[in-house]
């Protein structure tokens, strides 16, 4: 009688040990799988890669406009040899002097087109700002404002000063949402 009870107790203890062993091994499995999945997700995120916004902005600003553009109503004509940095500074100065933004549309449209080619597959937004006493005020935006909460990448560069006010250009890149065009 006593021997039988001792044997039952031993069996229950062995079963309990085995269940604990199984629980611990399950936790180890979950930890290893979690580590592997995190690594795979990081790799997938890196597949698109972080854009080199500094390089993109620098190359864009150094490039020539490449086409002659006449701005009707402003008696300004671009020969095509001007760099984008010079043209964007001119545009910013005109806006600060109170010129109508609609008259600058041909230049802004060309900037948008070149930036779209340069920054693909990212969605570019170029922001021209006036900086005075450490305060930044947006003058113009070229491109589409991203609506998603996805991570964005940005780079800024100073274009010079107009009337004591600094002009800063900022390139903001956000990932293009493929489903956006399907209204999903």
């Amino acid at each position: 009688m006593c021997g039988k009870r001792r044997r039952d107790d031993g069996g229950q203890l062995a079963l309990l040990d085995a269940m604990v062993f199984f629980a611990v091994s399950s936790m180890i499995c979950a930890t290893m799988a979690s580590h592997a999945v995190n690594r795979s997700q990081a790799l997938e995120a890196a597949a698109l890669g972080e854009p080199n916004t500094d390089e993109m902005l620098s190359v864009f600003l150094s490039a020539s406009v490449g086409a002659s553009i006449g701005l009707e109503g402003l008696s300004v004509e671009l020969a095509g040899y001007e760099s984008f940095s010079e043209v964007l500074f001119l545009v910013s100065a005109m806006v600060m002097d109170g010129q109508d933004e609609n008259l600058l549309e041909p230049v802004l449209s060309l900037c948008s087109h070149v930036l779209a080619d340069l920054c693909a597959p990212w969605s570019p937004l170029l922001v021209l700002s006036a900086e005075a006493d450490g305060n930044m005020a947006s003058l113009l935006e070229v491109g589409e404002q991203a609506v998603s909460d996805a991570d964005k990448y940005a780079a800024s560069q100073s274009l010079g000063e107009h009337g004591g006010v600094g002009v800063v250009v900022t390139l903001v890149l956000s990932p293009v949402l493929l489903l956006h065009g399907l209204d999903v």
Binding site: G66, A67, Y81
Partner: protein
């Protein structure tokens, strides 16, 4: 009879132990394969980025802006030397402003692309008419 009864009483214990051992072994095997694959992609990423930068620097090594003619006739064999043995590559240099088009393509078709990685680099170029354009170096690297 006691021995037979004891065997059947120990079966649940044996089942739990076997299940634990097998799940750990299976997960370890899967994780090992996944991490090995990740390391392979990391190496491809580094090689692709290094090759793209090397080609961009090689095209600009004259100091000033490269011309479209010099890019079209460029010899990229020195820049390719940064790529370790056992890798295949496809390099193309595209003009994206003021005109779109492919200027140069170099390929080492060793093997077929299985797992591959890409990288790009940008640079300015002096066009024939004095306009400063934009070039993009596109690199695809794979294990041969």
């Amino acid at each position: 009879m006691d021995a037979v009864g004891g065997f059947f009483e120990d079966l649940p214990v044996l089942a739990f132990v076997l299940a634990g051992v097998m799940s750990v072994a299976g997960t370890a095997s899967w994780v090992s394969g996944t991490l090995s694959e990740s390391d392979g992609y990391d190496a491809l990423d580094r090689s692709a980025s290094r090759l793209a930068c090397s080609i961009a620097f090689g095209l600009q090594d004259t100091g000033g802006l490269p011309t479209v003619e010099s890019v079209v006739g460029a010899n990229l064999s020195e820049a390719m030397s940064v790529l370790p043995d056992g890798f295949g590559f496809l390099v193309s240099v595209w003009s994206i402003h003021p005109e779109d088009g492919c200027l140069l393509t170099v390929s080492d078709g060793a093997g077929e692309p299985g797992s591959a990685r890409s990288a790009t680099a940008l640079l300015n170029v002096l066009c024939d008419d004095g306009i400063v354009g934009i070039l993009e170096v596109r690199v695809l690297v794979w294990e041969a």
